[in-house]
């Protein structure tokens, strides 16, 4: 499936290549690029992958000397972010043969960037990242034409983004990622509901946090997009206000008190908001936090922690950025050249304990509010207030809308019910939040049906009256609003929610990407071999070998008699029954010596025993005389937490069922 999808994507590359050829010749003839900079041997490391056939290439790959020319002269790449990942990406791309690179970054260089953003020097502090990075690359790597944009991504429209073959993101905010994601989805064109592959611009996204990172390949409209996997991002940690205000326990609570409550009240530097980059401001917060901490005998408030909390600092180091940027650049190269089949589609990296990578296919969400084209039904009780609708839209894990604007159509006119982003409108419309969607007492159902998706505006139609709800196939193609007649036009009637998930500069949700630490989904297990064993004492022995690829923090286990990935702490602590290893109707009992568990129904006892220390051990078998059936469990592989895939042998699905 993935392979087929991908060839579509490549065909677009080829189409572009053809159309771009004439202009390139002109460019070269006109001396646009310094052709003399390609010294002997310069591209030897790259050419071998472009000019030689190989057994593992993409099926569409044709060895050719033209491919290098395509990279050098035609293929246009956009790098978003010139920070830790961005600096690495620019270097990696430039040394892989890409020359037409644009880079967008709205930030200036800070001293704390210098430990990893290797294109910057102390003398550059305060200058725009994009410009310094572009200068460095263009000077150091002859012939490279990096074009810097010291701007926000939101400052450009679709005509800008449309010019690129591939876009790579090295961002530190989910909001910006979603904005880019939305932009690329808005560029898709559908003919009779079928996606035109030439409208796809592949998005390669990287993220890091400390020693963890991820890299992913997104083919918008074809593979899982940012919004499809929104649940994977760790939620932002916010402390409850009552804890901060009246019962602090941690040093962080004291710092938040100074930041959130004391600063606006005391305005120590006049009427200006707290600036995390201003050392005087941090010092003030630090001093107040220390006072507060002393009052409650809390220890551990330091200047560094204060800074970390106020600026929501994410630890970062050169090595992780290098690894993730390298993986991303590798994928850009694969897609641009068809030399290999690209990553399908998600890589997790962690080198806290050993070195661990895990690749899996993130799945599209059928009703993804960004890329699915499938209208969503959202149900609210008749008594729901607009406030509740708003909360749902902003807090639901799969929507997480930023400042949605809610409008309705009343007697053919658009009317704003609530808009957060403009202060005056917010104040004017705030009373609407307390109103219920409908005041009548009869059994009315509300449903929000998504109508069309357009860049950063997701529209849902809210209707009431159950007979009015149409199936999703009724939704029209993009751009066109089809309003369904109202049951009772005198009421609020048709509610149109325009949810503008525009990235806001104030949004500072601190995540650099999925890092595997808070994954909810379990990994995958596949059966490698099944054994059904002879037996000596009327004890049947069955086992099967299963290979599980689990996320960090998980190991192979058993759930409902099937191999599964379970929380490592369960296995480490031998609370076997917490994995729910037994089938429905069976009772689970941990063996007295904790070496395994039994599943009991009636007089049938199925026992699974594991080695003493399942973490690091070699196959061993223990029988259990009491029951009719014995399963053998082998666990071999690496120690707990070392993270790599574990091999697991345990009760099989087929043999049990």
């Amino acid at each position: 499936m993935a392979r087929r999808l991908f060839s579509l994507c490549v065909s677009r590359e080829k189409k572009r290549r053809r159309t771009a050829d004439p202009t390139d010749k002109m460019a070269v003839d006109g001396g646009h690029r310094n052709s003399g900079c390609d010294w002997d041997g310069r591209w030897n490391h790259v050419r071998k992958f472009l000019e030689r056939p190989g057994p593992f290439t993409h099926p569409d790959f044709e060895p050719s000397t033209e491919s290098l020319q395509f990279l050098l002269e035609t293929c246009k790449i956009l790098v978003i972010g010139a920070g830790g990942l961005g600096c690495e990406l620019l270097k990696n791309l430039a040394l892989s043969g890409f020359r037409l690179i644009h880079v967008v970054d709205m930030d200036t260089i800070d001293v704390s960037n210098l430990n990893r953003q290797f294109l910057f020097r102390p003398k550059d502090v305060g200058r725009p990242k994009a410009e310094v990075a572009a200068d460095f690359i263009n000077t150091r790597i002859p012939g490279c034409k990096v074009v810097p944009h010291f701007k926000k991504i939101q400052d450009f429209d679709d005509s800008f983004y449309r010019q690129f073959h591939i876009i790579v993101c090295g961002l530190d905010s989910i909001i910006a990622r979603r904005w880019m994601n939305g932009m690329l989805i808005s560029l898709l064109s559908y003919e009779d509901g079928v996606l035109d592959p030439s409208s796809i611009i592949p998005l390669i996204d990287g993220g890091t946090e400390g020693f963890k990172g991820n890299a992913r390949v997104i083919l918008p409209g074809m593979t899982a997009c940012i919004d499809c996997t929104l649940e994977l991002y760790p939620p932002q940690i916010n402390f409850p206000m009552c804890t901060i205000a009246s019962m602090p326990r941690l040093p962080e609570h004291c710092i938040e008190y100074a930041r959130i409550l004391q600063w606006p009240k005391e305005n120590p530097f006049g009427d200006i908001s707290l600036d995390g980059d201003n050392p005087d401001h941090i010092q003030w917060v630090f001093d107040r936090s220390q006072e507060r901490a002393a009052e409650f005998s809390i220890t551990g408030v330091t200047y560094r922690l204060t800074q970390g909390v106020v600026k929501r600092i994410i630890p970062a180091v050169a090595s992780t950025n290098a690894v993730i940027a390298a993986s991303c650049a590798m994928e850009v190269f694969k897609i641009a050249t068809s030399a290999y089949i690209p990553l399908n589609n998600y890589l997790v990296f962690n080198d806290v304990d050993g070195l661990y990578t895990y690749t899996f296919e993130a799945e599209r969400k059928e009703n993804c509010s960004a890329c699915s084209q499938v209208p969503q039904d959202l149900q609210f009780p008749p008594s729901a207030k607009l406030q509740e609708v708003l909360e749902y839209l902003t807090e639901n894990a799969s929507l997480q809308m930023k400042s949605p604007a809610i409008t309705t159509t009343l007697e053919g006119k658009n009317k704003t019910l609530y808009l957060q982003s403009v202060k005056s409108i917010e104040e004017r419309t705030r009373p609407n939040l307390c109103k219920t969607l409908k005041d009548e007492k009869n059994d009315v159902r509300f449903a929000l049906i998504k109508f069309y998706y357009h860049h950063h505006i997701v529209s849902f139609v809210v209707m009431f009256g159950s007979d009015q709800i149409r199936s999703s196939s009724e939704s029209s193609s993009e751009g066109e609003m089809k309003l369904i007649p109202l049951a009772r036009p005198s009421l609020w009637g048709l509610l149109l929610l325009c949810l503008c998930s525009r990235a806001e500069a104030t949004g500072n949700r601190s995540s650099r990407g999925h890092t595997g630490s808070s994954q909810e989904r379990t990994g995958t297990c596949e059966v490698v071999a099944a054994h059904r064993c002879c037996n000596r004492n009327k004890i049947e022995e069955r086992s099967q070998t299963v290979k599980c690829s689990c996320f960090p923090g998980q190991v192979a286990g058993t759930t409902r008699a099937r191999p599964s990935c379970v929380d490592a702490s369960i296995v480490r602590q031998k609370w076997w029954c917490r994995m729910e290893p037994c089938l429905e109707g069976e009772e689970c009992r941990v063996l007295p010596d904790l070496t395994g568990w039994s599943c009991i129904s009636g007089n049938k006892v199925k026992t699974t025993k594991l080695d003493d220390d399942p973490g690091e051990i070699h196959p061993r078998f223990s029988g259990y005389e009491g029951g009719e059936t014995v399963f053998i469990v082998f666990i071999h592989g690496q120690g707990l937490g070392r993270g790599a895939a574990l091999f697991w042998t345990g009760p099989g699905t087929s043999s049990v069922a």
Partner: protein, 521 residues
């Protein structure tokens, strides 16, 4: 001087949050040696120079070629010595780091002055021919200098850590369980529990009692009713949870239970809270190891501390490790939380003092012990290259069992070994020039077969892999070099700082599928 310290703190802020000032200090005292400034080599060094290692020395006898400049951002001009050229550009990247270079091949140095390599904190050898690698490996092994071997070959990255023994006190585990001692409360904790009376509290105090106290209270009750057996299985724990739920505050005798978040927390935490306190098996093994039991004047500090911890377990600890001294955040008012936290903290300090006494006795001088890390102490041991390569001690089991699976990265290890063999025989790598590719396929196949034969490995390597490796023609694509540059640098930092756990002992990265594996060879 103070100003530079402050600016260093700012510059390194993002990493100080990972390994702390003491970790940074070890980095700043480290002297790293890189052999061969290829793209992979300089990328590794770049990722060590940026976080601020003390010094580096590049050993390289090559002259910069057009290919070198093509895939290396740290080389700009051809025809210079490669060590010198790379040193200049890497040095420029961070003025805190002192850079040195030796314009000589490692083989020459090994001939004339093998002790040259003894001075380094770690030696990183990149793209070494097998013979050089083995020679350097044995010099470093006997001098106990950690050796990291790295290679980028086409789309395959290879790393091998060669270190006799690497000890880690701060392994920074991801999912560490709390150390609460609910099953064996120490006396101060017991007294503290006694100071609470849930039944006579008003609503406010009741709903702000830390969950640890709640669990401890109901556990006491449970133990008295269940023959001193704590809830063990799911059923019993469910029953225990129910008892806690019934303890939720009610306005009157038959009233509806109020919302109490601390009780909800208690119910949620029953599972982890009832973890039996016990010395982890891995640590138990370390306690029983030779190094721990035979303390001599040569024993490294780690083992002395470990022995002290062991003594503590067998004496003051009555079978348990020193108390870690931290508790998680939980719903509680400030006073109740802080006093509970102090109970643990003070006990931890007391235990630390006890361990220090043991260290003192062992060393006759006080050693600083991080008792709070006692559960997570780790030792990494690697085999020597000689053991890996010897026909007698090759890890055949690992190789054959991995090769049973069709997608194992082990095949790339074997291919890399075959390529080394090819180099030994032909003094060049297979498929470097286009015209060589076809004929080299059969030559490389001979190398593969002779390798498998020599080690009597009954495994099958598909011709596709042989073809692919000839296609690579020893290319070192920058992206693969950069991946290795990041990961090898981090392993070097782990070795230098003795924080976080290094891989052991062979790592293979496959850029074609973006997969990797750690092998034990």
């Amino acid at each position: 001087m103070a100003a530079t310290q402050a600016s260093k703190e700012q510059k390194y802020d993002r990493q100080l949050r990972l390994w702390g000032d003491h970790g940074q200090e070890t980095l700043e005292n480290a002297h790293v040696c890189l052999v061969n400034a290829t793209a992979t080599g300089t990328e590794i060094l770049k990722n060590l120079v940026l976080p601020g290692i003390g010094a580096f020395t590049i050993v390289d006898g090559h002259t910069v070629s057009g290919e070198d400049v093509g895939n290396n951002v740290n080389l700009a001009f051809m025809l210079q010595n490669r060590a010198q050229a790379a040193t200049e550009l890497l040095q420029e990247m961070n003025s805190d780091v002192s850079g040195n270079f030796v314009e000589e091949s490692p083989d020459k140095l090994l001939d004339n002055d093998p002790e040259f390599f003894h001075r380094f904190t770690i030696v990183i050898g990149v793209h070494l021919p097998e013979s050089t690698c083995m020679r350097l490996g044995s010099v470093l092994w006997s001098a106990s200098v950690p050796f990291l071997v790295c290679k980028t070959y086409g789309l395959i990255g290879y790393m091998r850590l060669v270190v006799q023994e690497h000890t880690v006190i701060e392994s920074h585990p991801d999912n560490a369980l709390e150390d609460l001692r609910l099953d064996q409360p120490f006396s101060e904790f017991k007294n503290h529990i006694q100071s609470y009376d849930l039944d006579s509290m008003d609503k406010k105090d009741h709903s702000h009692t830390p969950w640890i106290i709640i669990v401890a209270k109901y556990l006491e009750k449970w133990l008295s009713e269940h023959n001193c057996q704590a809830p063990k299985n799911y059923k019993e724990k469910e029953a225990f949870r129910q008892i806690i739920r019934e303890g939720i505050f009610r306005k009157n005798e038959n009233g509806v239970p109020e919302d109490e978040e601390n009780f909800e927390e208690a119910v949620k935490n029953v599972n982890t809270a009832l973890n039996p306190t016990k010395v982890p098996t891995a640590l138990e093994d370390l306690f029983n190891s030779e190094q721990c039991n035979n303390i001599t004047s040569q024993t490294p500090a780690f083992w002395v501390m470990l022995r002290a911890v062991k003594e503590f377990v067998h004496n003051e600890g009555s079978g348990s490790l020193p108390v870690r001294g931290t508790i998680p955040d939980m719903i509680a008012d400030s006073q109740k939380f802080i006093s509970l936290q102090n109970i643990y903290r003070e006990k931890a300090m007391q235990d630390t003092a006890a361990v220090s006494k043991h260290v003192e006795r062992l060393l006759q001088s006080v050693g600083k012990v991080c008792c709070k890390n006692a559960s997570f102490l780790r030792v990494v041991r690697c085999r020597s290259l000689a053991e890996e390569y010897s026909v007698d001690s090759v890890n055949k089991d690992e190789i054959t069992s991995c090769m049973d699976s069709p997608d194992s990265e082990m095949v790339f290890y074997l291919m890399l070994r075959a390529v080394d063999r090819f180099y030994q025989q032909h003094s060049r790598y297979p498929g470097v020039y286009n015209y060589q590719v076809e004929e080299d396929i059969s030559k490389l196949k001979l190398c593969v077969n002779s390798l498998l034969q020599e080690y009597s490995l009954n495994v099958n390597i598909k011709d596709d892999y042989i073809h692919e490796f000839c296609r690579y023609g020893a290319a070192e694509p920058h992206t693969v070099a950069a991946f290795l540059g990041g990961s090898a640098a981090q392993e070097a930092i782990k070795i230098i700082s003795h924080q976080f756990v290094p891989f052991s002992n062979t790592f293979i990265y496959n850029a074609m599928s973006q997969t990797s594996a750690t092998l034990h060879l």
